[in-house]
Symmetry: C2
Subunit: 256 residues, 2 copies
């Protein structure tokens, strides 16, 4: 009981399942009972479908920094994120990488490649320790072939990702690095929350990753963080960042 009260409420369901899984792993990692799928296209599958998927899926633990798959690689299935976050990025000709998206709990990795029968166009790297369920391509392809509702759901999901990508394109071309940094900090707060004790952003990124997410050089990113710190918008403690003046950051993202 004490353990549960100590867990961040946002993460409770997953953490709870995980704890139970350790004592009785025949039950709570079953797809039929998994709460994670509420967040993605798997939610529309019926029990029959889920039983089949469950029979072939594999729960994997991935530690921070580990590469789940690399750009150009042929994927043998998709990954459903149970816990943790991953960056989806592409290494550029000049050696840096550009983060296209950060995926976390409930999101599916690799669906585009499986749907198109193509190699991965992005690399996936764990930003912190993760738990993912690997579902083999055959199981997914079966569902696509036999469950129209599932395909429809995948379609809506893909369409939403496309809209987000369009927004990112416009952001990259219209906003300054400073504005994009402010926006990213707000996004990290909104998407992953803050540590209730310290107020620090929950998802901790290296300066390099933060720079890769906003599309700039690491030094520029660090310089602007220092600037924000000097102005009192944020405070930092090692890699940790705490937002102090939310409104100031919001104002920054808006202006001309």
């Amino acid at each position: 009981m004490i353990i549960i009260t100590l867990i961040n409420e946002h993460h409770l369901p997953t953490s709870f399942n995980f704890v139970v899984a350790q004592s009785n792993n025949t039950m709570s990692t079953k797809c039929e009972n998994c709460v994670i799928r509420q967040y993605n296209a798997l939610r529309v599958l019926n029990t029959e479908d889920l039983v089949e998927i469950n029979a072939t899926k594999e729960l994997q633990t991935i530690s921070k920094g580990e590469i789940i798959f690399k750009e150009g690689q042929r994927l043998s299935g998709i990954y459903c994120v149970r816990n943790g976050a991953t960056k989806l990025s592409k290494i550029t000709a000049s050696g840096r990488d550009q983060i296209v998206k950060i995926a976390s709990k409930g999101e599916i990795l690799g669906q585009r490649s499986i749907v198109c029968d193509e190699n991965a166009n992005l690399s996936a790297t764990a930003l912190n320790d993760m738990e993912v369920c690997f579902i083999p391509k055959s199981a997914i392809k079966n569902r696509i072939a036999h469950n129209p509702l599932f395909v429809k759901e995948l379609l809506v999901n893909m369409a939403t990702e496309l809209k987000n990508a369009d927004d990112m394109i416009v952001n990259l071309s219209e906003k300054t690095v400073k504005q994009r940094l402010a926006q990213s900090l707000l996004y990290l707060k909104k998407q992953f929350g803050e540590d209730p004790a310290t107020g620090d952003l929950t998802l901790v990124l290296s300066r390099e990753d933060l720079a890769a997410a906003i599309g700039t050089a690491t030094e520029s990113c660090i310089r602007l963080l220092s600037d924000f710190k000097k102005k009192g918008y944020i405070t930092t403690q090692g890699k940790n960042i705490k937002i102090i003046q939310l409104d100031a950051l919001e104002e920054l993202t808006k202006d001309f």
Copy 2:
């Protein structure tokens, strides 16, 4: 017969259909016989589906500069491009617009919005005179509800668009304006070809649109075009651009 021999081969099927349509518009604009749908998801529809779509569709002529739909607008259907090209763009806070994609013959506009039941996230503006078929939302939704193959096809299409958007994100963040301009000129040649008589790029964009496509200021775009001209990579004649040194432009895109 003389007319047909004068028409650019690439545009022959459409132009032919159009010419016939004027003399007998009950036949060749029928979806069942339309060659355009080979290029998009409508290709997988059976005759029954096509007859239903045909009964509700409406052939529209759109002249250069006309707005097909605007960002934020609720679409009442999709547009299948029979002829011409359109920019899909978003107006930024600072008043400029950023072109996210150029769509042409065979492509469908508005499918993302219809699939998600959302307002348009982009504006569509004709880059030259166009012919499009408007297909009402209800007809498309019916096909989505009853033809799983069609949904699958839409999914693959959307996934491909997502990959292209990802590529654009990486391009915007890693390449210089000069590199993006070189790349865009090569893209225009590859995608739309050159005038067989003059060698000019077939799709003529204003300097402003070209700048919007590569994500820079109009003046910067013009300046770099002048630079390319000085170096002998291209020649210009008004808005027309002719590529002279393809290899030099290709070399530029590959960077340092």
